[in-house]
């Protein structure tokens, strides 16, 4: 384009708008599809909620035998559980179906997405959108709600604002992992499990205090796949706990920067993967 840089930016903005609109359209179609089987939908939603609820019951049962886990009380663990669950739940709801990319590459249905006038990422993120995933978010919200009045925090405005910020950054971090994992599937179509070990596995880890894990593992989720920024580091700050890695205090506030970096990285990986697919077709 002769208009140069502003033209490129305008195209980019138009593409994003196109993507958001396509995402919304496809989500609506999937919601209506799932409502075509109303009973099944209600049962799945309840089942999803119940399975997650039992998950926390297990932690409560553990605390019937002990008073503290790695120095953390039950409400404090519940706080970790809730914040991590909300972040993963939101990421899973918004673009969790992206892990089905490998299947679409294998059976060739990814091609039908490439034929529509909308970015593939938006279309695949909305693919098989399932409202039943609200089950996990609801349960995590309830656990978090239960923990808030019970943890010892001197609530200032800044500290209250940290909660939605943690949710947004955590969702972005998990979303980036989902996306990077899906991008990897352009090359290895059955690699969904690898990605699951980081998302669902990472969530299972973040539910517990960092103090119960080996230092190497904590280091791994801080520097390698920085899931620690989802809830561990900001929560340590909120709860007034020392960092087991002894990192400087300002690191706790790096969440938004880490999330932005991860999203940028995942975006690049996605573009790279899609380009590779379009040049090899497999």
């Amino acid at each position: 384009m002769a208009s140069g840089r502003p033209g490129v930016l305008r195209d980019r903005a138009a593409e994003v708008a196109q993507g958001v609109s396509a995402y919304g359209l496809i989500v609506r179609m999937w919601v209506r599809s799932s409502l075509a089987y109303r009973t099944s939908f209600v049962m799945m939603a309840c089942g999803n909620f119940a399975a997650n609820a039992l998950d926390f019951v297990a932690i409560m049962l553990m605390f019937s035998q002990i008073d503290a886990l790695g120095g953390f009380s039950l409400p404090e663990v519940a706080f970790l559980y809730g914040t991590s669950g909300i972040a993963l739940g939101l990421a899973d709801l918004l673009l969790g179906s992206i892990e089905g990319l490998g299947r679409r590459v294998r059976d060739g249905t990814l091609d039908t997405l490439l034929l529509r006038p909308a970015p593939v990422f938006a279309q695949i993120a909305a693919d098989r959108f399932a409202l039943r995933r609200l089950g996990r978010i609801t349960q995590a919200l309830l656990v978090l709600g239960w923990s808030l009045p019970r943890i010892e925090v001197d609530w200032t405005v800044g500290r209250v604002l940290m909660l939605p910020l943690m949710a947004v950054c955590g969702t972005a971090i998990f979303g980036a992992v989902f996306t990077a994992g899906a991008a990897f599937q352009f090359w290895a179509q059955d690699a969904a499990e690898v990605q699951n070990s980081f998302t669902y596995g990472g969530n299972a880890m973040l539910q517990y205090p960092p103090t119960v894990f080996a230092k190497e593992l904590v280091r791994g989720v801080t520097f390698l796949v920085p899931l620690a920024f989802v809830n561990w580091l900001p929560a340590l700050r909120l709860l007034g706990r020392p960092d087991p890695l002894g990192l400087p205090g300002w690191v706790d506030f790096l969440g938004p920067a880490v999330a932005a970096l991860m999203c940028a990285g995942a975006g690049l990986a996605w573009r790279w993967g899609l380009r590779s697919y379009r040049s090899t077709g497999s």
Partner: protein
């Protein structure tokens, strides 16, 4: 224009019309890793499409045929922007598909016979509503197109039926309508009649003819059913091993493939191959039955008379050249035979 020969009036029309699809020396090379021994893997280059060139004018209906793995789908995928070519130049409606995929998407329609783009659990009309919104089709145009598709494809009773309850033929009609709603300039059809019964096939073909005549939609279709080509396309392109081996009329393909008819005679008893029949040669003997090939242009009557005069004839039949076997012959020969080139050169030529 290139030096490609086609039937005369067709060539003139093509010269004047706008070239909607331009393909110049397009290649697609895949690198595959193959196991060689226990651990060693060798990289191998597979030339799926090996330098093909053609042009399709606005409003043409072209058949694109070839055996499995010849490069048909790869070509279609490059024309639609799914795959990026390894070399050559490609333009569809003036757009480079690889660079501007989403812009091109608004101007083309694609139907894959073996997979549907319709929403399984929702009524058919909901899928069309999604197309309307995603392609941002103005209301008036959408209503007019939908009405016409519904009328020509008998979709009215199906609009409120969930797609999963439609038969294969109904779903194919539904898919074709979905591809045509944005009023594309080019329609790519990949095996549009695969698995359909005779009535559904006829409906689909009739509709495509209608759309082509009415809106001037350019159609490029791949198929294994040569009746599709016979009834729809004046021009056919044959691809094999990634190369275009024929581009021209269907008649020319018949001529290029050999242009011979076969006289099958049943004699009273087993005899040595029939000899001394002018213009014919015995190509096969199986017991008392013998096959004689003769040029398609020649009348069978004198042949029959000559055979009957010299041999104890019981029964006979004349077989027209079958297109499938002609194409097989084209493939086998890696191009058309030199003697047939003279006979069929007027209608088309092998490349």
């Amino acid at each position: 224009m290139t030096g490609r020969a086609r039937d005369d009036e067709g060539a003139d029309a093509v010269d004047e019309a706008e070239q909607l699809i331009e393909v110049d020396g397009v290649e697609k090379v895949f690198t595959v890793r193959r196991r060689a021994g226990r651990l060693r893997r060798v990289r191998e280059e597979v030339r799926a499409v090996d330098g093909i060139s053609f042009r399709v004018a606005r409003g043409e209906m072209v058949g694109y045929i070839g055996p499995n793995g010849a490069g048909k789908s790869t070509t279609i995928k490059m024309l639609t922007g799914i795959l990026v070519p390894s070399g050559g130049r490609l333009r569809v409606a003036g757009i480079d598909p690889a660079q501007q995929r989403t812009r091109l998407a608004r101007r083309i329609g694609v139907v894959f016979g073996q997979r549907t783009t319709l929403w399984w659990d929702l009524p058919l009309k909901d899928s069309y509503e999604l197309v309307r919104r995603m392609y941002r089709i103005p209301d008036a145009a959408y209503r007019a197109h939908l009405e016409r598709c519904v009328e020509l494809l008998d979709l009215a009773p199906l609009l409120d039926v969930p797609v999963r309850q439609l038969s294969l033929g109904q779903r194919m009609r539904g898919d074709i309508a979905a591809a045509l709603l944005p009023d594309p300039e080019v329609l790519y059809l990949d095996e549009p009649t695969i698995g359909l019964d005779v009535v559904s096939k006829a409906k689909v073909r009739g509709f495509l003819r209608e759309v082509n005549a009415e809106r001037g939609t350019t159609v490029l279709l791949t198929t294994h059913d040569l009746t599709d080509i016979e009834q729809l396309c004046r021009r056919v392109m044959v691809i094999d091993h990634g190369r275009l081996v024929y581009d021209g009329g269907l008649d020319g393909l018949r001529a290029a493939g050999g242009g011979e008819r076969t006289l099958v005679v049943d004699l009273e008893r087993e005899l040595p191959p029939i000899e001394g029949v002018p213009g014919a040669r015995t190509v096969r003997v199986d017991g008392p039955r013998q096959w004689l090939a003769f040029p398609a242009s020649q009348s069978a009557a004198p042949l029959v008379a000559a055979v009957a005069a010299g041999y104890p004839l019981v029964d006979l039949s004349v077989r027209e050249p079958d297109i499938e076997s002609l194409i097989a012959e084209l493939y086998a020969g890696g191009g058309m035979r030199a003697d047939a080139a003279g006979a069929g050169g007027k209608d088309g030529r092998a490349l």
